[in-house]
């Protein structure tokens, strides 16, 4: 088991290494470099004439005159050793400062979304598989089609519309205005929880639709395996048979796809954040891409991907714990 964990951990590091290279390439992609944009931002409209030399000196100051691989190494070294993701010009401070609180909020939102997804999809998926052609089963089919067809941002718009026209409230934001800038307190936390619901529903929407289908499909497969009848033949009650035997295995694909779910949620984060006005990483990512504030964008991209890779690692281990076949044979 220890070897298994170590193996997966190494795999995680290797993947992150390649991801960091890709992120760096994306950061380098936009035309012009950081010095150009820095000079443009700082001096445009001020009447100061910026010469080629000025830009050159900025370039030197940030070490942009050195070759790409050297810059990559400096960048990654700063992240790994000092948690320093480089400078952000849009906010004229370090990336770490800009990102700061948003990391926590994003994670809270992620956890809320995942909880909602699994609390809905696992029991309903199991129920629909056991009661084939019941109302839950048909409802599930409809929802799983709609889950794909109505993208999350559109659902957000619809909820926004309903909120505005029928309840005369905006459903956006993560905090009420009075708590926006307030320091953390119990009241502020409660306010956050109340605001979490709509974004969590929106983000959980398509993930739930997909997981419902997965759970039902696996459960239907497992339900007809001989070991279920064997458990019944032992004299166990029906509820116990279902929950202890096929349901136990129907959870495995959910665990193994947790990385995909997070990928999906993060993927939709920027757009949903834009519509609902959420102060988290996705919204900042979108803004920094639009502003070409590439160090911020790179940092966020790297963090989001790290969460996914890390959760893949966790799900591998949980899966091994859940399924002795993997633990004892695959390790």
């Amino acid at each position: 088991m220890l070897r298994f964990i170590l193996q997966r951990a190494i795999g995680m590091v290797v993947t992150m290494f390649f991801v960091s290279i890709m992120v760096f390439v994306i950061m380098e992609l936009p035309p012009g470099d950081y010095a150009d944009r820095y000079a443009f931002r700082k001096f445009s409209g001020t009447g100061v004439v910026v010469t080629e030399e000025d830009i050159e000196s900025i370039r030197k100051q940030f070490g942009l005159d050195r070759p790409a691989w050297e810059r990559y190494l400096t960048w990654i070294w700063g992240i790994v050793t000092r948690f320093d993701f480089g400078p952000s010009f849009a906010f004229e401070t370090s990336v770490t400062d800009v990102i700061g609180e948003r990391v926590g909020l994003t994670l809270v939102l992620l956890v809320a979304t995942l909880l909602l997804t699994y609390l809905l999809s696992i029991p309903i998926g199991i129920y629909a598989a056991v009661r084939r052609q019941s109302l839950a089963d048909y409802g599930l089919t409809v929802v799983s089609y709609l889950g794909l067809a109505i993208p999350n941002f559109m659902l957000a718009l619809i909820l926004l519309y309903i909120g505005v026209t029928y309840f005369d409230t905006t459903v956006g934001g993560l905090f009420s205005p009075e708590f926006e800038k307030a320091p953390w307190s119990w009241a502020k936390f409660r306010d956050l929880l109340a605001h979490l619901f709509v974004p969590a529903v929106v983000l959980a929407w398509s993930a739930t639709a997909l997981q419902l289908q997965t759970v039902r499909a696996t459960m239907s497969d497992e339900l007809h395996k001989p070991y279920v009848d064997a458990a019944r033949a032992r004299g166990l009650g029906e509820a116990k048979v279902i929950l202890k035997y096929p349901a136990r295995l129907a959870i495995n694909p959910v665990v193994s796809t947790i990385g995909f779910d997070i990928n999906r949620i993060f993927s939709e984060l920027p757009i949903v954040a834009l519509v609902l006005g959420l102060p988290e990483l996705g919204e900042l990512l979108l803004r920094s891409f639009l502003d070409l504030d590439m160090y911020v964008a790179g940092a966020i991209l790297l963090m989001l991907t790290f969460v996914i890779v890390f959760m893949n690692f966790v799900s591998d281990i949980v899966l091994a714990l859940l399924d002795p076949r993997i633990r004892l044979e695959g390790g």
Partner: protein
């Protein structure tokens, strides 16, 4: 008829239908037999003949699309001496849970598939013990249950049973899995063991070992057994009585020796001709001609007549042949014998 009075199980007119897209299909029709304690009944037939379905009906483990037709009767004498009509139980009846595992235990064809892969052998065995306090003499502690399970594993010939107790099904060899399966079925000392082709998935040497083991255990525990197989040779080795099924109906039944020596029904004869025999020398094996038809296109009259070499046109394809007693307890459903025995 005096023997029937002491019967552990009396099955009469058992009929099972399945709902399909094309309407109801009859899988088992008017099956009847008696089983006395300590005896082994062999159920023989090709796949699709309804032998598994009829035994599954005994513990009411049929798919949701199946229906036991009204008029079917399965009377079982419980350990307490009380008689129970299994066909009359509702699927949610709690007494059904006592019956399953406690009174009647099952052994499945594929031991690998019949064990859940995510629990240990021991866990699944203890589960049966905990589910049937009435059969194992009260509620057991974990340690007691473990002790009994290990004992049982040792009894079925598993070496190092304490280690196997904590292992998962996929860690055992095929033969060992089937032994563990037998141990699991017998741990509650059931009155009746239903073995559904328990040796089909094993290779020949293992088959013989498992058959010997089952014989031994049956004698030791004094239980009755229904042994399902498509192999006449296995019947010869293990069964006291035999019932040959074809398309959901019993076509011939009686004491195993008698039926094997003097098979009456053309189908039984055909099955026996398909069997290699040492005394027959270099005789060619004769397969049963044709395929078993699907239950949804059951032929009119005698179900076997389209494949029968002795069919009488105008009779066999008209009406079901009557059941005729041709010897002591030896019954056959064929018009060829209708004249001799009468009805």
């Amino acid at each position: 008829m005096s023997a029937a009075a002491a019967a552990l199980l009396r099955v009469r007119d058992l009929t099972v239908d399945f709902r399909t897209d094309e309407g109801w299909v009859r899988a088992v029709e008017e099956v009847g037999f008696d089983l006395r304690p300590g005896r082994t009944l062999g159920l023989v037939g090709e796949s699709g003949s309804g032998k598994s379905v009829s035994t599954r009906a005994l513990v009411r483990l049929l798919p949701a699309s199946a229906r036991i037709a009204p008029g079917s009767s399965m009377r079982f004498r419980l350990r307490s001496g009380e008689e129970m009509e299994i066909a009359a139980l509702s699927p949610r009846d709690r007494r059904l849970r006592r019956l399953r595992g406690g009174e009647i235990a099952l052994i499945f064809q594929e031991p690998m598939a019949a064990f859940s892969p995510v629990y240990t052998i021991g866990h699944q065995m203890c589960e049966a013990l905990f589910a049937h306090p009435e059969a194992v003499g009260g509620r057991l502690s974990r340690a007691e249950a473990r002790e009994r399970a290990v004992e049982m594993l040792a009894r079925v010939g598993i070496a190092n049973p304490a280690l196997r107790f904590d292992q998962y099904p996929f860690e055992l060899s095929g033969g060992m899995r089937q032994r563990a399966m037998i141990a699991l079925a017998l741990i509650t000392r059931p009155q009746l063991l239903i073995a559904d082709e328990p040796t089909t998935a094993l290779d020949v040497t293992l088959q013989a070992q498992i058959l010997d083991l089952m014989q031994e255990l049956r004698a030791e525990f004094g239980m009755a057994m229904i042994f399902i197989t498509h192999d006449m040779a296995v019947i010869a080795q293990i069964a006291d009585e035999v019932a040959v099924m074809y398309l959901g109906r019993i076509v011939e039944s009686g004491p195993a020796r008698e039926v094997l020596r003097r098979p009456k029904h053309p189908y039984t004869q055909a099955l026996l001709r398909a069997l290699p025999r040492p005394e027959a020398g270099r005789r060619r094996l004769v397969p049963v001609p044709g395929d078993i038809p699907s239950p949804r296109e059951r032929p009119a009259g005698c179900p076997f007549h389209p494949r029968c070499a002795h069919r009488l046109p105008g009779r066999c394809d008209r009406a079901l042949p009557p059941v005729v007693e041709v010897g002591d307890g030896h019954r056959v459903a064929c018009v060829l014998f209708a004249e001799e025995g009468g009805r």
